[in-house]
């Protein structure tokens, strides 16, 4: 039982393990948590703009919704008139009238 349970989760756990050490270190030295690891940082300014740093790529994009792949799972942003204002390898800025930011969707 134990073995079976451990096996499928192994791949996911390894990635999470490294960031976990970074998290612990950051906590220990009271450093800002976004300095370590590649966890996504989501900044929403008002309702019209969401900035996501440390993302992996976009998965779906249309007028009402955009799904973004990150190390912590998929972030889905829904709203109306969704556009990608800017996209680089480090950050993505999403514009439009935003109604939801969902994790693991």
């Amino acid at each position: 039982m134990k073995r079976i349970k451990k096996e499928p989760g192994k791949k996911k756990e390894s990635g999470r393990g490294i960031s976990g050490i970074g998290e612990k270190l950051a906590k220990l030295f009271e450093l800002p948590p976004d300095l370590f690891g590649n966890r996504p940082k989501v900044t929403a300014v008002g309702r019209g703009e969401v900035l996501i740093e440390n993302f992996k790529g976009i998965m779906d994009f249309d007028e009402g919704m955009v799904r973004i792949n990150t190390n912590n799972g998929v972030i889905r942003i829904t709203g109306s008139g969704i556009t990608i204002k800017e996209i680089t390898s480090e950050a993505i800025i999403i514009g439009g009238k935003i109604s939801n930011i969902d994790y693991d969707a």
């Binding site: 790529g57 976009i58 994009f61 249309d62 990608i84 204002k85 800017e86 996209i87 680089t88």
Partner: protein, 398 residues
């Protein structure tokens, strides 16, 4: 954000439509290859519209092939595309260079010289100094040293204590500080008498130093001793003492002048016909326009300048000069005795006013009409004045 837009505009960008199934994949590949994309909008189910830089567009083709998208340029925006249009126009380029050269050329000149803080006479002297150095409107700023100019002005113009020269853009400002005149110093060791400077009847005496030789009511001749600087003691054994005589001797004086009466007078009358000449003025050059002429045999002319003002209150060295000519005829006019007298009186007053000393007070004025033996008529004007007639006369060595 505005700066980013401006930068993109300068660098040039393209609006692209991408079609196909794997648009998300296409965007991801572009991102991974460091291609900046912005303003991505979903158009319909299988196409998006996006913007990319020129360099980005070049790198985009392999990414599109890999993801199975087709990309088309909808619009080319930005400065490079606008400039490309002018690439073949030679005249445009030449004009651009010529324009830049003109701006550099004209901004390297002095366009206006302003002199502040002094009277017109001093300003004129300063202008003369500048003129000698060939500094005027239209001379080049290069090689002008404000400190040297200021020093030159100080060297060549008296009655100024300080001069400063500033060149701001195309304007040269010269500020001047006037000298306060040195007070007159009376040297009390230079012994002197006071003598009469003109004939007169003494009305008031005020002696500060010296021995008075006249009294109120005396009539004195020009050159007569009024106050002596030589003080003699009543007892000859005490000897004499010399002083610098000081004082004011007020006296009544008379001035007179004779002016012949003239019953005929030539008057210049404007006939009412006028003619206008127009000149274009550039710096000190006058260029006559077509049709300028001296329209009349005898004319008075009045001219005025129309100047063009540039920005920042700058008076430009170009403008129009309009000269208006009025035709004039000379007419002999017969005057009545009263008119002739009035005219002669005016002349006489003018002549006397030139003679009067500035601190003289006119008390009375008398007018006589005289007839000479030869039959000519004269107008005599006599002014009775009161003034200080005392003048210094240095005492000789004894």
């Amino acid at each position: 954000m505005f700066l980013v837009h401006l930068w993109n505009y300068i660098r040039g960008y393209v609006i692209i439509i991408a079609k196909g199934g794997g648009i998300e994949r296409f965007i991801n590949i572009c991102t991974r290859r460091q291609i900046l994309l912005w303003d991505i909008v979903r158009k319909d189910s299988d196409s998006v519209i996006l913007k990319a830089s020129l360099r980005g567009f070049m790198l985009m083709r392999p990414a599109a092939r890999k993801s199975g998208c087709r990309i088309h340029i909808l619009k080319k925006c930005g400065l490079p595309f606008i400039l490309r249009r002018f690439r073949r126009r030679r005249g445009f380029k030449v004009g651009l260079i010529f324009f830049a050269a003109l701006i550099v050329f004209f901004t390297s000149m002095i366009w206006e010289i302003e002199i502040q803080g002094c009277s017109n006479e001093v300003a004129e002297k300063i202008m003369k100094v500048l003129d000698e150095q060939d500094i005027r409107r239209g001379s080049f700023k290069m090689g002008l040293n404000p400190k040297r100019i200021a020093a030159d002005i100080l060297m060549h113009v008296e009655d100024i204590a300080w001069a400063g020269v500033q060149i701001q853009g195309v304007k040269m400002t010269i500020s001047v500080q006037n000298i306060t005149p040195r007070p007159e110093v009376v040297d009390e060791n230079a012994y002197s008498n006071l003598v009469a400077e003109r004939d007169g009847l003494i009305t008031g005496i005020e002696v500060l130093a010296g021995a008075l030789k006249v009294k109120e009511g005396d009539t004195v001749k020009k050159g007569q001793l009024l106050v002596s600087g030589k003080l003699e003691a009543q007892n000859p054994e005490f000897g004499t003492k010399y002083v610098h005589a000081l004082g004011r001797i007020m006296a009544r004086t008379w001035y007179d002048v004779r002016v012949p009466l003239d019953y005929e007078y030539t008057k210049r009358v404007r006939t009412g016909r006028t003619h206008e000449n127009t000149y274009i003025r550039i710096l000190n050059l006058r260029i006559g326009l077509f049709g300028n002429r001296n329209a009349f045999e005898d004319y008075d002319s009045v001219s005025y300048d129309k100047t063009v003002n540039g920005p920042f209150n700058l008076e430009l060295p170009i403008g129009l000069t309009v000269e208006k000519q009025y035709e004039v005829t000379e007419k002999k006019v017969r005057l009545s005795p009263e008119e002739a007298e009035a005219l002669a009186l005016e002349k006489a007053r003018l002549a006397l006013n030139r003679e009067l000393s500035p601190d003289c007070r006119v008390l009375d004025e008398r007018v006589n009409i005289l007839r000479s033996k030869t039959g000519e008529t004269y107008l005599e004007l006599i002014l009775e004045c009161e003034e200080d007639i005392a003048g210094q006369q240095p005492l000789g060595g004894d």
